[in-house]
């Protein structure tokens, strides 16, 4: 016996290995957290940068009206890369490490859901900090920007959390299409989406429905728009993604 092949009975104590969850789905959720110092700083770093720039700009402008900005959207857009890569990079890796497709898909959604809850909680705290400091002292609407503002804490929380899940569903769907059918599959999907959108725009324009469409959106509350309508879209994309990944062979 050489020194490099130690006895199993002592090895577990010798190295601080991560605790191994019993359920395969929970193991996958933990797996998404393994290299977190290389993933989580990105969305928050970019949001912080966007916030800092807005603070400087609006701090230097002398206006009586409250200033507002859509910079909050940056964190949601940055996250789409992470959501796509869970499937284009993480999935082939995990499949090679004896994870089933089912466990990977469900475990990744478990992680994404928990991450969205945590991210939403931070945004909620910042939004109330913003109210309490009268817009960071410069009347800036950044986290509590007017389109997303709700007075109830629970509704406000949902408005922050659900869009992460919607974007995860869209990004995850694109990722799954890519691992199932490759780049050509993704391009075919894009072509289909552009074609469908074109037809919808044409029909709405010809029928002079644009005013009604605008009225409909204006009539929706922030909760309905950001936490209500995304739910059915999420569920449909999530189920389609599950059906597709079960036969994927990257």
């Amino acid at each position: 016996m050489t020194a490099t092949t130690p006895d199993t009975s002592t090895s577990q104590a010798a190295v601080a290995a991560p605790r191994r969850p019993r359920h395969p789905v929970v193991r996958v959720a933990r797996l998404q957290f393994v290299a977190w110092p290389y993933t989580l700083p990105w969305p928050w770093g970019i949001l912080a940068l966007s916030f800092a720039i807005n603070l400087v700009i609006f701090g230097s402008v002398d206006e009586a009206d409250a200033a507002w900005t859509g910079g909050l959207a940056s964190i949601y857009f940055v996250q789409i890369f992470a959501y796509v890569q869970h499937f284009t990079r993480g999935f082939p890796f995990a499949l090679g490490m004896s994870v089933t497709r089912r466990a990977y898909y469900l475990g990744t959604w478990l992680y994404v859901g928990l991450e969205a809850l945590a991210f939403g909680a931070v945004l909620l705290a910042l939004r109330f900090a913003e109210s309490a400091t009268d817009g960071w002292g410069v009347s800036l609407e950044y986290f509590g920007v007017r389109f997303v503002r709700e007075e109830g804490v629970a509704l406000q929380y949902a408005v922050y959390v659900v869009p992460f899940l919607l974007i995860a569903a869209v990004g995850g769907f694109l990722g799954v299409v890519t691992v199932r059918w490759g780049g050509n599959g993704l391009l075919t999907l894009m072509a289909g989406v552009i074609l469908t959108a074109g037809v919808v725009v044409l029909v709405v324009g010809r029928a002079h429905w644009w005013d009604s469409v605008g009225d409909w959106f204006a009539g929706q509350s922030a909760t309905a728009l950001f936490a209500g309508w995304p739910l059915p879209v999420m569920v449909v994309l999530g189920l389609l993604g599950y059906a597709m990944i079960r036969r994927a062979t990257p």
Binding site: T4, Q12, R89, G90
Partner: protein, 304 residues
């Protein structure tokens, strides 16, 4: 069926495929393949590039879907958490997330493999000179192979598959891999399925040899029986000719006055005496020679 692993107590089959066929875009990659992998053996899967070795391993680990019956630990492996939890497949083309470093791969493996031995993994990573904080994307081909070897060995998975584990590894590290594999196997017996085209280099490790050619299994035998299937005779032309008279000659190489023949059927009891009398030399045929001769298109099936 041959019983292998004699002396290791009761043997049973860890993996079994029957009548498995796999086609990619109309091309048949596996053609009605049947194979049994016995428990606690080191089983070699040999063959040319593109012969179907990787596909067979991917079928065994539920990575691809194929027609036919596939059983691993008695169950179909596809989407089977219970089965895959006892299997580690070190793919030659294993992919990693872009931001992963060596240590992240080992941490992930610790989470995913029930029998993972973290201290053993760290020791192996040191032996193979893998820097823990090196990005996996920055590893050379040989270092990527080494990382796969570390994962495969430290997983302690009851069924571990290595697909071309030697790619890009230098001679010293190939030797290190073989030494560690044998030490591990002696200490913690488990089933190893190893595909490679470095046949002579792994020849001594293998207890069982399966040769696959153009999607079909052409040899499946115990390594010792296989070596006994043929013998090489060399010496003066006339002496070699008289030795080979009445035997099946697989191949002859001739230089002006000396020749070397490969004879099927192995040694007969009085061959040693006969060889000494004739002044010819008898040698076992290397595994590589056997495989090359068996899978060569002109001589396919010559040894069956």
């Amino acid at each position: 069926m041959n019983v292998v692993g004699v002396g290791r107590g009761e043997t049973s089959n860890v993996a079994e495929v029957r009548g498995v066929t796999k086609t990619y875009g109309g091309q048949t990659v596996l053609d009605d393949v049947s194979l049994t992998v016995a428990e606690n053996t080191i089983h070699g899967l040999l063959g040319h590039n593109g012969a179907g070795k990787t596909t067979l391993m991917r079928v065994l680990t539920g990575r691809v879907f194929a027609h036919g019956d596939v059983r691993v630990f008695g169950e179909a492996p596809v989407e089977n958490d219970g089965v895959l939890g006892r299997v580690c497949f070190v793919g030659e083309d294993q992919r990693y997330p872009d931001h992963y470093q060596v240590r992240h791969v080992l941490e992930a493996a610790a989470l995913l493999f029930r029998t993972w031995d973290a201290a053993y993994a760290d020791a192996l990573a040191t032996d193979f000179a893998l820097p823990a904080r090196r990005g996996v994307r920055k590893l050379s081909r040989g270092m990527r192979s080494a990382l796969g070897i570390v994962v495969g060995l430290a997983s302690r998975a009851p069924l571990t598959l290595f697909d071309e584990p030697h790619l890009g590894l230098d001679a010293a590290f190939r030797q290190l891999f073989h030494d560690r594999l044998l030490a591990e196997y002696a200490e913690h017996p488990r089933t190893i399925l190893l595909s490679t085209h470095l046949i002579d280099e792994v020849g001594d490790l293998l207890e069982r040899v399966t040769v696959i050619d153009a999607g079909r299994i052409v040899i499946d035998d115990d390594a010792d029986d296989l070596r006994a299937r043929a013998v090489s005779v060399s010496g003066p032309v006339a002496a070699v000719d008289s030795f080979t008279e009445g035997r099946e000659v697989l191949q002859v190489e001739r230089l002006t006055s000396v020749s070397r023949a490969t004879v099927a059927g192995g040694r007969r009891p009085d061959d040693t005496e006969l060889a000494r009398h004739l002044g010819v030399e008898l040698e076992p045929v290397s595994l590589q020679d056997l495989v090359v001769r068996t899978t060569g298109h002109s001589r396919r099936g010559a040894l069956r």
